[in-house]
């Protein structure tokens, strides 16, 4: 019984992390709920064991003794003696979210933890909505940090904000290409650029692939950011720097992840849904998408993955161009 539940508990699923909860507590809570669900199943039937009892033989004189086999219930597998059947589950966390941020958090259970590494190596982008507040500056760039400065913001208009966001996007686009270690003179790199696949497949600083303003009503504004290799603190710092560019100050009041790779808000499970059946359904629903996306994102990246880090760009031009020629010839 328990094994049937456990066998369906391998894979990735997304959870909506509420603000104010540490990711570690969330992971522990999910593990506890899964264990509770697994242990609630019916325990197996009690085992019997055979004992050979010495007794007088039937219908004979009392001196004759013989051994008779009897089956007596055994207490070895009684649930009160062994304890709960499941005490530990392997639950892993994908890209983490800090305590003040909220949004889609990918978790892996059992064999799904291996897929977490694959997802990390696929270097997919993530979507955030970032809410900012003009006129304040704090030490940790968040709204409830220690206040450092207060400024006026009447001069700020939507056009100014859009202009600054466009500049940011452009400069990050350049960095994308630089950190992806591609020689743009090759055919293959051109094709990848046409398809929009240029992105660094190894470590790099935070890169923004797209940023735009959804809503602007001073002092509040709402940005949508697509980025990779980010931390939430850097996103808040981004809001602070946007404020500085606008010749005022800004703090971030909300960082919310709406998409992590191929997991979106729709498939994320809320706190009330963190139990065994919901998680099993979520894993089953997400499994085909996960497989397809990982297949897709890992294969075209094969060529670029072999290249060394940016410091070696000189040397890499040689092999990449030959590779490119081969690839072109192969096609």
């Amino acid at each position: 019984m328990g094994s049937a539940g456990l066998s369906r508990l391998h894979g990735l699923f997304a959870v909506y992390k509420p603000p104010g909860l540490k990711w570690k507590h969330l992971r522990d809570t999910v593990e506890l709920q899964l264990l509770k669900g697994l242990n609630a199943r019916k325990p197996p039937a009690p085992k019997q064991r055979v004992r050979f009892l010495l007794g007088p033989m039937e219908g004979s004189e009392e001196k004759e003794l013989t051994l008779t086999a009897t089956s007596v219930p055994s207490f070895i597998n009684h649930p009160l003696v062994c304890g709960p059947a499941f005490t530990h589950l392997k639950v892993g966390v994908g890209h983490r979210l800090d305590a003040q941020a909220s949004g889609v958090l990918v978790l892996g259970v059992g064999h799904g933890c291996r897929l977490l590494t694959d997802m990390y190596n696929a270097h997919l982008t993530k979507d955030y909505t970032v809410r900012g507040l003009l006129g304040k500056a704090t030490d940790d760039f968040h709204e409830d940090g220690r206040l450092v400065e207060k400024t006026t913001y009447d001069h700020v208009t939507r056009e100014k904000l859009d202009r600054i966001l466009a500049v940011i996007q452009g400069s990050h686009q350049k960095s994308l290409v630089m950190y992806s270690n591609l020689d743009l003179k090759t055919q293959e790199a051109y094709e990848m650029a046409v398809r929009g696949l240029i992105r660094p497949m190894n470590k790099s600083p935070m890169l923004i692939t797209g940023i735009r303003c959804l809503y602007f009503a001073p002092p509040e504004f709402l940005l949508e950011v697509q980025c990779m290799h980010e931390t939430q603190k850097e996103l808040r710092k981004l809001v602070h720097e946007i404020g500085l560019e606008l010749k005022t100050t800004a703090v971030c009041s909300q960082v919310r992840r709406t998409r992590d790779g191929f997991f979106t808000l729709d498939s994320a499970l809320l706190r009330t849904q963190w139990d065994l059946t919901n998680i099993q359904d979520a894993i089953r629903a997400a499994a085909p998408h996960v497989a397809a996306e990982l297949e897709k994102s890992l294969s075209p990246g094969l060529d670029t993955k072999q290249l060394p880090s940016p410091g070696w760009s000189w040397d890499s031009q040689g092999p990449s161009s030959t590779l490119g020629l081969e690839r072109g010839a192969g096609q």
Binding site: P56, L80, V81
Partner: protein, 417 residues
């Protein structure tokens, strides 16, 4: 040479339970295929201190002799001895002259043993004696789990049938050792009958014993005195039963300690005797837990949160759990309710349940109501929503009646937080 009667006492067969590392408990056991009247001793030399290997396990003996037609189970009942360890001197005398020492690695023997000629396995024996050889695998002398012994110990089996969770007790080595050594008929039964007298039902005994396994080491007379003391303080029988059920360690406290605790609560809370009694009956954990958190919480309510003494008394009589709540959670909840939701003190006093709920629940529901424009907590104005409706009702009813929205809307809203 047969063992003489005087030499028998040197033999023992105590079982080492559970402590793998505890050298002081190491004993030697000897096993050999049990002959009719000589019961097997399992020999297992312990390498550690030789000063301690002679350990009496007198309690562990059963003088019942084994291989009569009937018992088998009862003889194995006592301890973890599949090879019945009985030392009736008379029987031993009649038995073999030689002892068959099993092929264990036992090298160390008592001096007496050396004098006995070894029993050869090739020696022909009669059919009857052959039947009566018990060759069960010996029980492990030490183990970290009671699973190894449960099939051979009637005490443990009866406890499991009562509902005691052995997997929790085996985490405490001393308790497990104690249970293995006790006899159900003699010791445990008395205690169970006493507990039933106090008022604990049959189906609650298991949970009680799982929590408070130390009660077996308490003296029955002391326990009766403590119950009499509680009765003298005008706690009714049902009250005492409820208190003991909810706080299993209550009867382990001496009369002076109980007296001190009751006195503390009377002084600290300055409630009437009857109200203090009701409070303690509802939350007997107050008597068994530490008093420091209670003192701290009283200070927090008075100084940090700014409640008056009569307000605190009112809240505590409604929700006794507030006395032992976590200080940080209290302050966070109060901060949100008072500063963000702008609810004044006198309304919070009317609904102390808000201190008993998780903060995230209060926050999510309040933010949803604000988003819908229904966050009205002033009793004077229309569409007033009371705090207890905010926190104490389940999600579906909250969404339908208070927020007048669907549960899907609530979930969508939660995903925007």
């Amino acid at each position: 040479m047969a063992l003489s009667a005087q030499q028998i006492p040197r033999w023992f067969n105590s079982v080492k339970l559970r402590s793998l590392i505890n050298a002081a408990q190491l004993t030697k056991r000897f096993t050999r295929p049990a002959r009719t009247l000589l019961h097997g001793f399992s020999a297992q030399p312990q390498i550690s201190s030789d000063s301690c290997f002679l350990q009496w396990g007198f309690k562990t003996y059963r003088t019942s002799s084994l291989w009569n037609s009937s018992q088998s189970t009862s003889s194995s009942s006592q301890e973890n001895n599949s090879a019945q360890s009985s030392l009736l001197p008379s029987m031993n005398e009649q038995s073999q002259k030689t002892q068959n020492i099993s092929s264990f690695d036992s090298e160390l023997f008592l001096e007496e043993l050396d004098e006995l000629p070894p029993l050869s396995p090739m020696q022909p024996i009669s059919e009857e004696e052959a039947i009566q050889i018990i060759a069960d695998p010996p029980l492990p002398p030490a183990s970290f789990t009671l699973r190894d012994y449960v099939d051979h110990s009637e005490t443990l089996q009866k406890l499991v049938l009562l509902g005691v969770d052995l997997s929790k007790i085996e985490k405490h080595p001393e308790a497990a050792n104690l249970l293995l050594r006790l006899d159900f008929e003699k010791d445990i039964k008395q205690m169970l009958l006493f507990l039933k007298d106090v008022g604990i039902e049959d189906n609650q005994l298991g949970a009680f014993l799982t929590k408070n396994h130390a009660i077996f080491s308490e003296d029955l007379e002391n326990l009766k005195t403590r119950v009499a003391y509680l009765h003298s303080k005008n706690f009714s029988k049902a009250d005492v039963a409820q208190m003991v059920r909810k706080a299993p360690f209550l009867l382990n406290f001496s009369v002076e300690r109980l007296d001190n605790r009751l006195g503390f609560f009377q002084k600290e809370l300055e409630l009437s005797v009857k109200k203090t009694r009701d409070l303690v009956v509802r939350l007997p954990r107050l008597l068994t837990g530490s008093l420091e958190p209670v003192k701290e919480n009283m200070k927090v309510y008075r100084l940090e949160l700014g409640f008056k003494h009569n307000e605190i008394q009112h809240m505590i009589t409604r929700i006794p759990k507030m006395l032992t709540a976590n200080k940080m959670k209290l302050t966070e909840t109060f901060d949100f309710v008072h500063n963000v939701m702008s609810i004044p003190h006198h309304i919070i006093v009317k609904f102390p349940q808000v201190f008993n709920t998780r903060l995230f629940k209060v926050r999510e529901r309040h933010l949803f109501l604000t988003y819908l424009g229904r966050a009205q907590y002033d009793p004077a104005k229309p569409n007033y929503i009371s705090l207890d409706k905010l926190v104490s009702i389940p999600d579906e009813i909250f969404c339908e009646e208070i927020a007048k929205a669907s549960v899907q809307d609530f979930e969508k809203f939660l995903k925007t937080l």
